[in-house]
């Protein structure tokens, strides 16, 4: 019974971690203020 509880705890923690990370996702940020270029940049 105690082994079952331990396994369930590990399972729940893994789900909690992955779901939290995925829900946070990657930040979208804001549209860059830089313009679409009409001059040749000297470097990247």
């Amino acid at each position: 019974m105690r082994a079952l509880i331990a396994a369930a705890t590990g399972l729940a923690l893994a789900f909690a971690l992955v779901l939290t990370i995925s829900a946070m996702g990657s930040p979208t940020g804001r549209t860059s203020p830089r313009p679409l270029l009409t001059t040749v940049p000297s470097h990247p």
């Binding site: 105690r2 082994a3 331990a6 396994a7 369930a8 705890t9 590990g10 399972l11 923690l13 893994a14 789900f15 971690l17 992955v18 990370i21 995925s22 996702g25 990657s26 930040p27 979208t28 940020g29 804001r30 549209t31 860059s32 830089r34 313009p35 679409l36 270029l37 009409t38 001059t39 040749v40 940049p41 470097h43 990247p44």
Partner: protein
């Protein structure tokens, strides 16, 4: 004590073993996405190119034609489209600005490209366009999907506004990176005049009235890093002609542009460094964490079982004290 330790190890083992598939098949599609606010520029050059002089309507050799390509993510537009599309969307506004050796504009073609942030599938929404013409893209453009496969893909050609296969031609090594090489040939096709012409006063409508048409052909080559799906290098053998009409003074055709367009060296180095960095992040989600946690899970489970088995093993019997003879009573 051993039993407690084996239970903790069992919990850790299940945690790691569960983390492995969850990271690969649940987290990866949700975390590996093109950022909606991406901004990227690229410089390509065509050395010893042929360019049309619109003053004399004669093709002439020029030392260099430069193409500046900018991609800029529109975050507000992406969020708006996401609400109806029901999936993560990226909206790229791009500009291909072509400049002659004298620094003057040869052409500029704006585009709006809308696609799924993870799968790279095109998303159709109002505003999708090439040079102001509404289009409905099929296939990919600019970038391949994450975990690119060794197969042909459908690739959108902005000049013809059509989609055709780009063929996988083998695996190569480019600047130390394993890349997939793709090639697409667009045969001579009649294409629209750019909305912005290099000479003031000339518009696509005035050219159309002369009966002159614009034709285009290209062989497009990409070296794509397969984990990120990002091209680390690209080349294009690009040809454009004006054909027929009164504008050419009786000639059947004149070359408007011909050149082998290649990425500028500093941009190649920058792109390779950027792709190497992003490749590590994608590999962490698809390979390092899933395989690492699976291996660790198995190891911890084995350790847990070992401790459990030891805790259950019967101990050596304690030394028995020799019983002293009890007095007998008769």
């Amino acid at each position: 004590m051993r039993r407690k330790a084996s239970l903790v190890l069992l919990a850790c083992a299940v945690f790691c073993a569960t983390l492995s598939p969850l990271m690969r098949w649940y987290a990866f599609p949700r975390l590996a996405r093109i950022p909606a606010n991406q901004y990227q520029d690229m410089v390509l050059e065509a050395k010893d190119a042929t360019l049309l002089d619109y003053g004399t309507m004669q093709a002439k050799k020029v030392p260099e034609v430069t193409i500046v390509q900018t991609l800029k993510g529109d975050v507000a537009a992406a969020k708006k489209i996401e609400k109806t599309a029901g999936r993560p969307v990226v909206v790229w506004d791009s500009l291909s600005y072509v400049q002659g050796p004298d620094g003057k504009m040869v052409s500029k073609v704006p585009e709006r490209y809308i696609f799924d942030a993870h799968t790279q599938d095109p998303v159709h929404a109002t505003g999708e366009m090439v040079d102001g013409d509404p289009v409905t893209r099929q296939g990919i453009e600019f970038k391949w999907p994450f975990l690119t496969q060794k197969r042909d893909y459908e690739y959108f050609d902005a000049q013809t506004r059509t989609t055709s296969p780009i063929h996988y031609k083998g695996t190569r090594t480019f600047r130390g990176l394993k890349v997939y090489y793709f090639e697409q040939t667009i045969p001579w096709t009649k294409v629209p005049m750019p909305k912005t012409m290099p000479v003031q006063g000339i518009t696509p409508e005035t050219v159309a009235r002369t009966g002159t048409t614009r034709w285009y052909s290209t062989v497009r080559r990409f070296w794509v890093e397969p984990v990120t799906g990002a091209p680390v290098y690209g080349e294009e053998d690009h040809k454009e002609e004006l054909r027929g009409g009164t504008l050419l003074g009786g000639r059947a055709s004149v070359t408007a542009f011909a050149g082998d367009v290649k990425m500028r060296e500093d941009y190649i180095e920058h792109t390779v460094a950027l792709v190497e960095h992003n490749r590590t992040l994608v590999l962490a989600l698809t390979s390092y964490v899933p395989w690492g946690s699976l291996f660790l899970g198995i190891l911890l489970l084995a350790l847990s079982l070992f401790l459990e088995a030891r805790s259950r093993r019967p101990r050596d019997p304690a030394p028995t004290r020799s019983a002293e003879p009890e007095p007998l009573s008769a």
